[in-house]
């Protein structure tokens, strides 16, 4: 029991030590504190897991708020779902902390960085360990804030700061949905505690309007946090942050919290097939969009970022067809291989003296062997080649999708073809061929230190074998993940009889599997034919033309958003601030400046004039209010007078 409260405590302590002692703690102690906090937290998760028996444990630390109609406890809920998420967060988190110890060692904000990372870990743990929706929301906002701080970590130039702010504000737009969902739950269920809400939800019918509203509102929150259409554009921009941040926050953990939230609320979603269908299509569209944009990107981190957007789409696709545990399975394997790929990319960037453009790379295979090999493992894993982990989870999702809707399945296969292609394109262009960078960079090329390669190796091993926690049924090997998670979906089974029923025969399953492997292999061969010899390098930005240019520029979605949303809002704001507010003020400022002695007749007029116009506006306000309030009844008086 006590281990549960300790899980978030260690990162918090780590944050406080590194944060309050910023500048005072020696540079050697900083990574030890940061990584140690994360590791201790991992150990606690392990201990909690070992002591865990079947039923969920609720630990109520104190009453957060207890007034009539609103009772929320500061409570933790440890169950199968939170254990899995905690393992991913603290496990991958610890590895990334370790990696950062090497990667960030030259940075002057070393202590600050670790403090932020620990704070992030704390928020993320609150998010998945919280026992009610409000706790989840606190963590939800907390990770958003940390993401803001870490993206803008190098606030040397305004682009980075703008990327950070964009991420935060887009997340906030999503949070509008989440908050509204919370208020709806509170109004309709009278509580926010998971267990009570799900218990009460059982009384609702499938397709109930309120449930649809709640689930849609919550999903809007997930769209923001997990970068789904239309709120995905912040994620690629978020790559402005240090690479370990991209690996931890924008690949492995934070962006998957939307999936966690839906799996957590699976009863509600099962009750609302409409929302599920919506989620599936949004997920599919995002998967395809991300993959197509990923095809032509030349920034190593941007490729990975779009790949993350696309993979998140797959996870939502899985959730949308009620394959909750498959979606979660993909969260786990994705955390392994995407963290690996990002860290590998970081190692490459490190070797390339902070250059991220793959057109300047090439032939790095022999120069940085460990990085290259682990990167290859990650690339194979994401492409879906058995027995690497990505194959199992993606195949499971696609099998469920096939059962649900054949068109979706076909589109999903198309996406996975593109995935394998752009990943291997990235791999070949980066590691094959001959070096295309400057002499200086070539001279500087080196393998990263141990603290960076160790996490790479560990993650490579996990990416390779991580899929074995869930074998497909056809192999007659245990699907440990499903067995473990089964109690979480108890309520879903109760409310919707169609949940979890599989109709696919074993033969068909084998065929599907074969098909997806075939697609991946063809795609890899295709990528090899184009980029394998290392001579075919993507062209410079200006030479990109036609349809390719559209994709290369990310379908101009950012520009579209700027035109449609940002533009008008800033125009209105500008109007308010500079025309209504400032013009009037400037008039006085200038006129008072002209004659300070107050004798000028003009000033007097102006002063009175401005006050007069203010009063005029207020009177107009009063007029409109009174009209609004009494207009209808006044109209009848008027009629009465006329009739006389």
């Amino acid at each position: 029991m006590t281990f549960i409260a300790l899980i978030p405590l260690f990162p918090l302590i780590g944050f406080l030590i590194n944060g309050l002692g910023y500048g005072k703690i020696s540079k050697t102690a900083v990574p030890w504190i940061g990584t140690g906090a994360s590791l201790l937290s991992f150990v606690c998760v392990l201990l909690a897991y070992l002591n865990f028996k079947e039923t969920a444990i609720i630990v109520n630390l104190f009453d957060w708020i207890s007034i009539a109609g609103l009772n929320v406890g500061f409570s933790f809920q440890l169950d199968q779902l939170s254990i899995i998420m905690l393992f991913v967060i603290t496990g991958v988190g610890t590895l990334i902390h370790l990696y950062s110890a090497g990667y960030m060692s030259h940075d002057e904000g070393y202590g600050k960085f670790f403090a932020y990372l620990n704070l992030f870990l704390f928020s993320m743990i609150l998010l998945v360990l919280g026992g009610n929706y409000l706790m989840m929301f606190i963590g939800w906002e907390g990770v958003g804030l940390c993401s803001y701080l870490l993206i803008g970590f190098w606030n040397k130039n305004t682009d980075y700061a703008n990327a950070a702010r964009k991420a935060f504000i887009m997340n906030r737009i999503g949070d509008v949905g989440f908050l509204i969902g919370i208020f709806l739950i509170l109004q309709n269920f009278g509580t926010l505690e998971y267990l009570e809400v799900f218990e009460k939800a059982k009384a609702f019918h499938v397709g109930d309007g309120i449930i649809v509203a709640i689930t849609m509102a919550l999903f809007v929150g997930a769209m923001g946090k997990s970068a789904q259409i239309p709120l995905f554009t912040w994620l690629p921009d978020a790559m402005a942050g240090p690479t370990p941040v991209s690996a931890l926050i924008h690949a492995a953990t934070m962006v998957t919290s939307g999936i966690y939230m839906i799996v957590r609320s699976n009863v509600l979603y099962t009750l609302s097939p409409f929302t599920l269908e919506f989620i599936a299509w949004i997920g599919l569209a995002t998967a395809l969009l991300g993959a197509t944009i990923g095809l032509f990107q030349n920034d190593i981190k941007k490729v990975l970022a779009y790949s993350t957007v696309s993979q998140l789409g797959y996870m939502f696709l899985g959730l949308g067809v009620m394959a909750y545990s498959s979606g979660l399975f993909h969260v786990i394997t994705h955390a392994f291989f995407k963290a690996l790929l990002f860290l590998g990319a970081g190692s490459v960037i490190h070797a390339m003296s902070d250059d991220q453009d793959i057109r300047n790379m090439g032939g790095l295979w022999s120069k940085i062997k460990i990085t290259a090999i682990t990167f290859l493992v990650g690339t194979i894993a994401i492409s879906g080649i058995p027995p690497f982990s990505g194959f199992f989870s993606k195949d499971e999702i696609l099998a469920h999708v096939f059962e649900h809707n054949k068109i979706m399945w076909a589109l999903g296969m198309l996406g996975s073809f593109m995935t394998a292609f752009y990943m291997f394109r990235l791999f070949f262009v980066t590691f094959k061929g001959s070096f295309r960078g400057t002499e200086e960079q070539k001279h500087h090329l080196h393998e990263s230190p141990k603290s960076m390669t160790t996490p790479l190796i560990v993650l490579a091993v996990l990416s390779a074998i991580g899929g074995f926690i869930g074998f497909p049924e056809v192999f007659h090997l245990p699907h440990r993940l499903n067995e473990f998670l089964s109690p979480i979906f108890e309520n879903s089974r109760l409310v919707n009889s169609s949940f979890g029923v599989v109709h696919i025969s074993h033969n068909l399953e084998l065929i599907l599997m074969g098909a997806s492997v075939l697609v991946a292999v063809i795609s890899i061969l295709f990528a090899y034919m184009v980029f394998g010899n290392g001579k075919n390098v993507p062209v410079a930005d200006s030479e990109v033309v036609g349809l390719k240019k559209l994709v290369y520029n990310k379908y101009y979605i950012d520009e579209l958003y700027n035109k449609v949303f940002v533009g008008p809002i800033s125009a209105i704001s500008f109007f308010f601030a500079n025309v209504i507010d400032k013009k009037l003020i400037d008039k006085i400022v200038n006129s008072v400046g002209e004659g300070v002695n107050f004798s000028s007749k003009k000033i007097k007029e102006l002063q009175v004039g401005v006050t007069g116009s203010y009063i005029l506006f207020m009177t107009l306000g009063i007029l409109l209010l009174v009209l609004y309030q009494f207009g209808p009844s006044l109209l009848s008086t008027f009629n009465l007078l006329q009739n006389k």
Partner: protein, 461 residues
């Protein structure tokens, strides 16, 4: 009721002390008087009822709000340390007027009779007209004072007009008499309704809700910063509670009637306040527009008007006061260290490099901005959560969506000072007097405390 007496007397004493005591020891006296006032409120605890022929109501929730007011005044006095040291300042008069104004504010949260409300409102307003123009060499301040006075009088006139109609309709100034006309037919109520709308408008002006907000930015900018902080917190709290009392006791049966125009005012305040703040470069103007939008949020609890709304509003007031006073406090210290063209700079770029110049202040600023923006684990989150929940309980979902969206917009300008404070700079360290330092620490610590464990404060109400 005791603090009213205490501050009436101590204000006079303060004026006399100004003659005999040196300037620097006036602040301790002021704090002493305020603490006495705070303590004297204990005498009323658990003695609910009407006093002075039904002029004042005393009850524990009212006393709590009075504490909030006095506590905010103490914090404002705390950040005023060293601000009135130069020869052109008259701290004795300033503090005396602050105490008198506090008398007005205390009356406004406990009145039972509209006459009392009027007297309280006028004491508070007249005091502030004077304080706004108290820096006589500042032409912008003079300007602001005149403007505030003219427009304030206009609003008072409207308010009085409303009170007269209220009296005409009910034959009494007692706030509970509003219910006596509840059963009248439409024709009989017309007078009452008009009075109600005018009373609302008069008071909405004072909390600077849109579209009656025009004076706010000019006055906040022109007034000496300490008094802007006073205006933003104490005046706002007093008036919103006066409105709440009226809504809950006089006009509660007319809820359907006034709520439909109040939501429009709330929506306007949120939109105009937040949207206009985005491009402001003067920090005091930013806070002025932020206060307009916060007024919109506070008014949501009037829309809620349930058993919990009073407590929600109390929580909101205190957490808003803490955040706003610490924002003004940090700004005050920095701006008086950054003299541009002979006077303290008010541009938002005074925060540049604050983190390296004084990390404590930067952290306090961060906490205060996060709280104003309503980010979790600060008290500002809970206050917004409570009032939005109030609105949701009444089914006003569109205003809820607007509110949450606008708080997303507000991030844009609340983050500007934070971003600036993490910039690199080679400017020197900033020194700060220990009193204002501890005041700011208290504000920040309470903001976090109430953010982590809101129940401590919330369960009191």
């Amino acid at each position: 009721m005791y603090p009213i007496i205490v501050f009436s007397v101590s204000g006079l004493l303060m004026l006399f002390l100004g003659l005999s005591v040196n300037k620097k020891s006036l602040l301790p006296y002021n704090l002493l008087f305020m603490l006495v006032g705070l303590a004297s409120n204990f005498l009323d605890w658990n003695a609910p009822g009407l006093y002075f022929n039904g002029m004042l109501e005393i009850s524990n929730p009212i006393i709590l709000v009075q504490w909030v007011l006095i506590f905010a005044a103490i914090l404002v006095s705390g950040i005023s340390s060293r601000q009135f040291d130069d020869t052109h300042a008259y701290p004795a008069e300033y503090y005396a007027i602050m105490q008198f104004a506090l008398v007005g504010a205390l009356i406004m949260v406990s009145f039972q009779n509209l006459l009392m409300l009027f007297v309280g409102l006028e004491i508070l307003s007249v005091g502030l007209y004077v304080l706004t123009g108290s820096d006589k060499r500042n032409l912008r301040g003079n300007e602001a004072a005149i403007k505030y006075f003219l427009m304030g009088s206009f609003a008072t006139g409207i308010f009085l007009f409303g009170v007269a109609m209220f009296y005409g309709a009910t034959g009494s100034f007692d706030i509970s008499s509003g219910n006596s006309v509840a059963n009248n037919l439409l024709e009989g109520k017309m007078f009452f309704w008009l009075g109600m709308v005018f009373i609302f408008i008069g008071l909405l002006f004072k909390i600077s809700a849109a579209p009656f907000h025009f004076w706010t930015a000019d006055v906040y900018q022109g007034a000496p910063t300490v008094f802007s902080a006073f205006m933003a917190t104490i005046v706002k709290t007093a008036v919103i509670f006066a409105l709440f009392r009226l809504a809950a006791y006089s006009f509660n049966l007319e809820y359907e009637n006034w709520s439909k125009f109040l939501v429009i005012i709330i929506g306007l305040s949120m939109v105009i306040g937040n949207v206009t703040a985005v491009f402001q470069t003067n920090f005091k103007r930013v806070l002025a527009f932020s206060s307009i939008s916060q007024a919109g949020f506070m008014l949501l609890s009037l829309i809620g008007l349930g058993a919990q709304s009073y407590g929600n509003l109390g929580f909101y007031s205190l957490s808003y006061a803490l955040a706003t006073i610490s924002a003004f406090g940090v700004f005050l210290v920095i701006s008086s260290n950054t003299i541009v063209e002979g006077r303290p700079s008010e541009n938002i770029n005074v925060f540049d490099g604050l983190f390296s110049r004084n990390p404590d202040l930067a952290i306090i600023l961060l906490i205060s901005m996060l709280s104003l923006a309503g980010i979790p684990l600060t008290s500002g989150f809970w206050s917004k959560f409570f009032v939005l929940n109030d609105a949701a309980a009444k089914g006003y979902f569109w205003i809820l969506i607007l509110g949450v969206l606008m708080s997303a917009v507000s991030l844009y300008y609340y983050f500007n000072p934070i971003r600036a404070s993490f910039k690199k700079t080679d400017l020197g360290k900033i020194e700060i007097s220990s009193l204002s330092k501890y005041t700011l620490y208290v504000c920040a610590a309470l903001t976090i405390l109430f953010g982590i464990a809101p129940n401590i404060l919330r369960s009191l109400f």
